[in-house]
């Protein structure tokens, strides 16, 4: 029976939920809990990837390299992954990450722009990294275009390609249709990364599995941008229940969430991402999930309705990385309100 490889992103996508303020000690403890449960790949770092620590995306408590070194010092079995978004991070940054202990890289581009990642995927392969192509905002185009871009990533040498639902805007039938189509036409394995903005992250992950995906993402207690990711605990329970072949132990992954992450969240005074009207609008309007907390801040700064901000960003077809547009939209809404 085919093996399903689980990537946990509590320490990367979940970094959005603590505004990138994990301490090195916290990352180490969480990583140990994940490894103990049998997670195959642990992704960590700033939510927006290598060198995402900026005014635009928020400064992190530590540099990517510090995080990688800390976590790599406690891992024995799980593979350590980093995210690289071409246009934000560079090949040089990736080289440093590798030297610090990264073993896997996910090269993320907008779903129609795979070719901006050509140099990065090729360089990652040359460095000997396991290389995942990560097609963000995959809800924005049809399956033919997703395939065309996935094929580019395959041709650059990617080991896996992901259908990434950054906006949590997909429904299970769409995930199923796109994954099946990729599966039929590519020779490398397919993965899926879900967000729970419309409350269907687990259902989407299950649909992806049934359509042939071999790589699935989760994060403990659903920690992640927007309404969060697929909760890893729930994903493991569901996959276990249908008899899928995974390396992760259900009780141990539940313990990692309850005994390790939950006290950290409480201690930091952070909140668990969960369904609320903001995340719902993000999923509904198809907006990049990481925009949520930035939009909340901008709505407060310019005294406008966050829903208006998010809907307008959806209409403008903002893509991942364009957090600066949030300020522009909120500023403009405020100006219009005054007039």
């Amino acid at each position: 029976m085919r093996k399903i490889i689980l990537t946990d992103t509590t320490l990367r996508d979940g970094s959005h939920s603590v505004s990138h303020q994990y301490s090195l000690e916290e990352m180490k403890e969480i990583a140990k809990g994940l490894e103990n449960a049998g997670i195959d790949i642990i992704e960590l770092g700033h939510g927006d990837g290598l060198t995402g620590s900026t005014i635009n995306y928020g400064f992190a408590a530590h540099s990517d390299i510090e995080y990688i070194k800390a976590v790599s010092s406690v891992l024995k079995k799980s593979k350590l992954a980093v995210l690289l978004v071409p246009g934000i991070g560079t090949i040089e940054d990736l080289q440093e990450a590798k030297e610090a202990g990264a073993e896997v890289v996910r090269v993320a581009t907008h779903v129609t722009e795979a070719d901006v990642g050509e140099q990065h995927i090729k360089a990652a392969k040359k460095m000997g990294l396991f290389t995942v192509g990560f097609l963000m905002m995959s809800h924005m185009v049809n399956k033919e275009i997703v395939l065309q871009e996935a094929k580019k990533m395959e041709s650059y040498g990617a080991d896996v390609v992901y259908l990434t639902d950054s906006a949590g805007a997909m429904l299970p039938n769409e995930v199923s249709e796109k994954i099946s189509y990729l599966k039929e036409n590519l020779s490398i394995p397919i993965g899926h990364h879900a967000h729970n903005n419309l409350g269907v992250a687990v259902a989407n992950s299950l649909a992806a599995y049934e359509a042939g995906a071999d790589y699935l993402d989760g994060s403990l207690l659903g920690f992640g941008a927007g309404a969060g990711n697929t909760p890893t605990e729930m994903l493991v329970a569901v996959l276990d229940k249908i008899g899928a072949n995974i390396n992760v132990d259900l009780y141990n992954i539940i313990d990692a969430g309850d005994d390790v992450l939950a006290p950290i969240i409480k201690n930091k005074g952070s909140k668990l991402p969960r369904f609320n009207s903001d995340s719902l609008i993000i999923g509904y309007a198809g907006v990049y999930s990481s925009f949520m907390l930035h939009a909340k801040r901008a709505a407060k700064r310019f005294d406008v309705d966050i829903r208006d901000v998010l809907v307008e960003l959806g209409e403008r077809n903002a893509v991942g990385g364009q957090e600066d547009w949030i300020i522009e939209v909120a500023h403009e809404l405020q100006k219009n309100k005054k007039e």
């Binding site: 005014i55 071409p86 560079t90 129609t112 050509e118 140099q119 403008r316 990385g321």
Partner: protein, 290 residues
């Protein structure tokens, strides 16, 4: 009037836009184009009766008669072309992120010394031409310790040269923000947006400043705006400088002239207009035009 003779190497999006802008120049005549295949840019040159090669830059050197060369190939090819141009005594304007010569942003550092002393000037990047002047203006006024820019361009306007040089693009732009803009440290992010109709080029410029005097900042930015609009009329403020703590946010939009690509591709115009501006100043000097 006598004109200086120019060549374009690499007639892609940027090169073809240059071709159209040079047609209007009173001081420069486009005399030759160097391509690598019968691309759209070469076909346009052919139609206009401009001499070209799709073989090698050596054809241009052997043919002779060129005073100024605009290189809009890519960082790799320009590293090969630069010494060839230098040896042939051709003044080179580098529109790739190769940056062999010093950075030139006309609104900030185009001086007689630069034109007399150098044989190769680098035009940074489109994002650099769009943002360095603003950072420089704010730095002059209130001292910038850190600057960060996010440049959004339409996918349609980003050709293979840009896509395959995205690291060089961000790194070169960041260096220019430091070296020419005067920021102590800089970070650059570029995002390609595929929306239809295509978005106008826009840039968000964050600066962390020592003296948060917003009135002084706005004045400095306004003055710079007028300087840039002289050679890029479609350069406008989208959000005038606003401040929170010590971080100033300024957003600008660049509407192009619609020469080769439609007006949304202001990212082409800002670098091609800057290059033409430098070339004309160089030509005027050499032709003795006051």
């Amino acid at each position: 009037m006598k004109k200086m003779k120019a060549a374009i190497i690499g007639p892609g999006n940027i090169g073809t836009d240059l071709l159209m802008k040079l047609e209007r120049s009173p001081y420069i005549e486009l005399d030759y184009v160097v391509g690598i295949k019968k691309s759209e840019g070469i076909l346009i040159a052919e139609k206009k009766g401009i001499d070209y090669t799709i073989d090698s830059i050596q054809d241009m050197v052997d043919r002779g008669g060129i005073d100024i060369a605009f290189d809009s190939t890519g960082a790799g090819p320009h590293k090969i072309n630069a010494p060839i141009l230098k040896k042939a005594g051709i003044f080179a304007l580098d529109l790739t992120p190769a940056a062999i010569g010093p950075y030139c942003v006309p609104a900030v550092n185009l001086t007689d010394e630069l034109l007399d002393g150098e044989v190769n000037l680098n035009m940074v990047t489109c994002a650099g031409q769009a943002t360095v002047p603003i950072v420089s203006a704010i730095n002059e006024a209130v001292d910038v310790t850190y600057s960060e820019i996010i440049s959004s361009v339409s996918s349609m306007s980003a050709g293979p040269g840009t896509r395959q040089n995205i690291d060089e693009f961000t790194v070169t732009t960041a260096r220019a923000l430091e070296d020419v803009g005067g920021a102590d440290k800089a970070k650059v992010i570029i995002v390609l947006n595929p929306a239809e109709p295509p978005i106008y080029m826009r840039n968000t410029i964050y600066t962390k400043v020592k003296n948060p005097d917003i009135k002084k900042i706005r004045e400095a930015v306004d003055n710079m705006l007028k300087k840039i609009q002289k050679y890029v009329p479609g350069y406008t403020l989208l959000v005038e400088p606003i401040i929170e703590d010590d971080i100033v946010t300024t957003m600008i939009q660049v509407e192009g002239l619609g020469d080769y690509l439609p007006v949304y591709a202001g990212n082409l115009d800002i670098i091609t207009s800057a290059a033409v501006n430098v070339a004309e100043k160089y030509a005027k000097k050499r032709l003795g035009v006051k």
